[in-house]
């Protein structure tokens, strides 16, 4: 999950991350940590469950209309998210019409408002981060496809890891400032790698052989549409950039394939075979070992 979020931060064109998982698995914590990492200048907007269209899109500023008699636009959450991240918790429970709205805006990068006598158009480019529990409802394939990468998280099964989580939270509560200091070095390192990766990205090359293998992989697993391949290549480049490498090799492709493809596989709606398993099998066949 952390890798996926960092990749999305390096290259916004990849189109965001969808995190599937049960409750209490740290999904929103991780997303918010990303926001904190990238700093206060990058907007990070929460789209609450059940948000109404008015709050998302923006609406007539009633206050000014009624009191001053002026027609003014009160920006919604999409305006606030421009240039940053839009985080949607429980995205699979989102109302259909809000989903449609987000699809439009995500595709065009622009929010068009035509209502209540208003005609407004503003830039709304953001990286979508969604989290949800598939047990609660299915996400429409069109929306799922909008997310560049997808991740499945589970609560760690090893007791030691769980104890470590409890321990760190306990330490933080006792001395928040101390905890922050201890981890500051690691945080700065991560932030540096993201900033450096962004700078390096334009120079990262993808050899023809890698492009071909990417296409072969997508065909082998039955990925729908071309977005899968494009995302796969972009994600592999971003991963290489994060590692400070100027050329994409098999290693990066293998690392990002599951997150780039698992939510795009053509399958019967009731097909139980795990998408991740299918991708890993294909990878094993193609790359051996």
């Amino acid at each position: 999950m952390k890798t996926a979020l960092l990749i999305a931060a390096v290259d916004a064109r990849i189109g965001g991350v969808m995190v599937f998982g049960d409750r209490g698995t740290g999904k929103s914590t991780a997303a918010r940590a990303l926001a904190a990492l990238l700093g206060p200048k990058i907007p990070f907007v929460d789209l609450p469950l059940g948000a109404t269209e008015d709050r998302v899109v923006g609406a007539l500023d009633i206050e000014r209309a009624l009191v001053a008699g002026e027609k003014a636009f009160e920006p919604g959450l999409l305006a606030k998210a421009d240039g940053g991240f839009l985080y949607i918790d429980e995205v699979n429970l989102l109302e259909d019409h809000i989903v449609d709205l987000l699809l439009d805006v995500a595709a065009t990068g622009e929010n068009v408002v035509e209502r209540e006598g208003l005609s407004v158009r503003h830039s709304a480019r953001f990286v979508l981060i969604g989290s949800g529990n598939p047990e609660e409802g299915e996400l429409r394939p069109q929306l799922l496809d909008r997310f560049g990468l997808s991740i499945e998280v589970r609560t760690p099964q090893e007791i030691d890891l769980r104890v470590e989580i409890l321990r760190r939270c306990d330490t933080f509560e006792r001395d928040a400032a101390g905890f922050a200091d201890d981890w500051q070095k690691a945080e700065r390192k991560t932030l540096r790698s993201v900033t450096n990766a962004r700078k390096l990205l334009p120079d990262v090359g993808v050899p023809d052989a890698i492009m071909r293998r990417a296409s072969e992989l997508c065909i082998a697993v039955g990925a729908d549409g071309l977005r899968g391949e494009l995302t796969l290549i972009r994600a592999a480049r971003a991963k290489a950039a994060l590692e400070g490498k100027k050329e994409v090799k098999d290693k990066q492709l293998i690392a990002v394939a599951p997150m780039a493809l698992r939510h795009r596989l053509r399958r019967g709606v009731l097909d139980e075979t795990g998408s991740t398993a299918r991708i890993e099998r294909a990878l094993a066949e193609m790359f051996g070992g």
């Binding site: 609450p48 209309a65 009624l66 009191v67 299915e138 769980r162 321990r167 306990d170």
Partner: protein
């Protein structure tokens, strides 16, 4: 230590979910914290603050009200009738809990099928029954935060796994609770006794299994005991703790947990009754009202209403609008459909029929997925009916619940019909269109005193009286009169499919 005292001591515990009469709890809270009561149908503006419309219109300049979440910081918000919370409001509360700016007490007085949104319940440390409210006396607060050793943390982590609690929030709450208990106890360090109490308070209500159940089954091979998910025994520390916890449980609770485990993973709390969303669907006119709770202002109609009064109101540069002039848009939602399968899972050829029903349900789910419709499954056998798949669009969930469905026993038709009717009426109340599909051979034999068939027909007639859409699919090998008679009583279609496969059943319904 009562939950109220613990919550007052540590706001990071989020809050309390109470089932039943909570007046005692509230009285106790009043002595410890500032209590703000809040109805379940509160709207987002009241919670988050914003323009106070009436005051603004009266004063002629913007009057902002701070919102309940801000005002209640440091105190506690008490919501009655929490099972009726709208998703938007639940989400707003959840976000505020995440930012630990509020304490929340939810009082759930719902009946079976209505429940507080899971996402919100998850963020409250204590889930309690009003009848089973722990009490306690504080010995005075310790100066510093009590020490927590690694072994204590491990006890809690293991106990959570042993009880089948997946979410990490629960053990985190348990850790906080143990610390608070130790502090209020005047102790320097968290002891095993505090852990036992914390496990009892926080983890047990969320338990989906009890580890002893594992002893009855064959002991798992070593490899399995290493790291695979469900049914895993905790470690040795957890066993001691859980033995001690068991001693403190009220009678019947252990049975409830075991029953829950036997039924398969908890069905998940529902999302509560949903009222008509005020901004969805096709526009259907305009009515007087305040643009609150999501209802959208109809500006032109408002101005039109205010226009004739301008002269009288002495308006000059700006338009004088009063509260009575405000108009909002009404919408008519295109309601979705819910197909309710009521399946005779009794001994008579149960297995084959169940397979067909399950197959048909899965096929319908596939279509429903496309049409955004919902599917539900009720099975009746033995002496009762049970809702196996509550109305859902989630394939993952439906498939899992279907897989766990057993068959056999007598045919309690009346019970099945009654359950289908109740579910259908509840769906209708949520503005969905229910459609009942009954799969059976039409022969009722439970209760076994001879009244079964007549009761079944009575139940069918009440479905007809409610105007509910119904179809009876007769899967007996040789269709008999009972099937047609029942269909007539239902006021619905009769379809004979003696050897109906899943595809036939599903085609017959569409």
């Amino acid at each position: 230590m009562s939950p109220a005292q613990l919550l007052a001591a540590d706001g990071g515990l989020g809050g309390i979910l109470v089932r039943g009469d909570a007046e005692g709890l509230i009285a106790e809270l009043r002595q410890l914290l500032q209590v703000h009561r809040c109805p379940a149908h509160v709207d987002a503006d009241r919670l988050l603050g914003g323009l106070d419309l009436s005051a603004t219109l009266a004063a002629g300049r913007p009057v902002i009200s701070p919102g309940l979440i801000e005002t209640a910081a440091g105190g506690v918000i008490v919501v009655t009738g929490a099972e009726r919370l709208e998703p938007e409001i639940a989400g707003t509360f959840a976000a505020a809990l995440d930012a630990t700016t509020i304490r929340l007490v939810l009082i759930d007085r719902g009946v079976e099928g209505e429940a507080v949104p899971e996402a919100l319940a998850e963020r409250l440390a204590f889930w309690i029954d009003a009848d089973d409210m722990p009490t306690g006396v504080t010995k005075g607060a310790a100066e510093h935060t009590p020490i927590m050793s690694d072994s204590v943390l491990k006890m809690i982590a293991e106990a959570a796994v042993a009880l089948g609690v997946e979410s990490m929030r629960a053990p985190l709450f348990a850790v906080r609770t143990a610390k608070a208990l130790a502090r209020l106890d005047g102790s320097d360090a968290v002891s095993e006794a505090h852990v036992i109490e914390a496990v009892r308070r926080v983890l047990v209500p969320r338990a989906t299994q009890w580890p002893e159940a594992q002893d009855e089954a064959a002991p798992p091979p070593d490899a399995q005991a290493q790291g695979e998910g469900q049914g895993e025994a905790g470690g040795p520390l957890a066993d001691t703790v859980l033995e001690a916890v068991k001693a403190t449980l009220p009678p019947g609770l252990l049975e409830t947990i075991r029953a829950r485990a036997a039924r398969g993973k908890a069905k998940g709390r529902g999302r509560g009754a949903r009222r008509r969303a005020p901004t969805r669907g096709r526009p259907a006119g305009v009515r007087p009202g305040l643009p609150r709770g999501g209802a959208r202002l109809a500006l032109l109609d408002t101005l039109r209403a205010a226009a004739p009064w301008q002269k009288l109101r002495g308006a000059q540069a700006r338009i004088a609008v009063r509260k009575a002039d405000l108009r909002v848009r009404r919408f008519r939602d295109r309601t979705g459909m819910t197909t309710i399968f009521a399946v005779d899972a009794s001994g008579s050829a149960a297995a084959a029929r169940m397979a067909e029903a399950k197959g048909a349900v899965e096929l319908l789910l596939t279509q429903a997925y496309v049409k955004r419709a919902q599917v539900a499954l009720i099975a009746f056998r033995g002496d009762s009916a049970e809702t196996i798949v509550p109305p859902t669009r989630s394939l993952t969930r439906a498939r899992r619940l279907l897989a766990e469905l057993p068959g056999g026993g007598g045919t309690p038709m009346a019970a099945g019909l009654h359950a289908a009717r109740t579910l259908a009426l509840s769906e209708r109340a949520k503005d969905r269109t229910p459609h009942i599909v009954l799969l059976t051979d039409g022969r009722a034999n439970m209760p076994a005193d001879g009244t079964a068939q007549a009761s079944a027909e009575q139940a069918a007639k009440s479905i007809a009286r409610d105007g509910l859409d119904a179809t009876l699919i007769d899967i007996s090998a040789r269709p008999r009169a009972e099937g047609q008679r029942l269909a007539d009583a239902l006021g619905g279609r009769y379809i004979a499919l003696p050897r109906g496969g899943a595809a036939d059943v599903s085609r017959a319904i569409s």
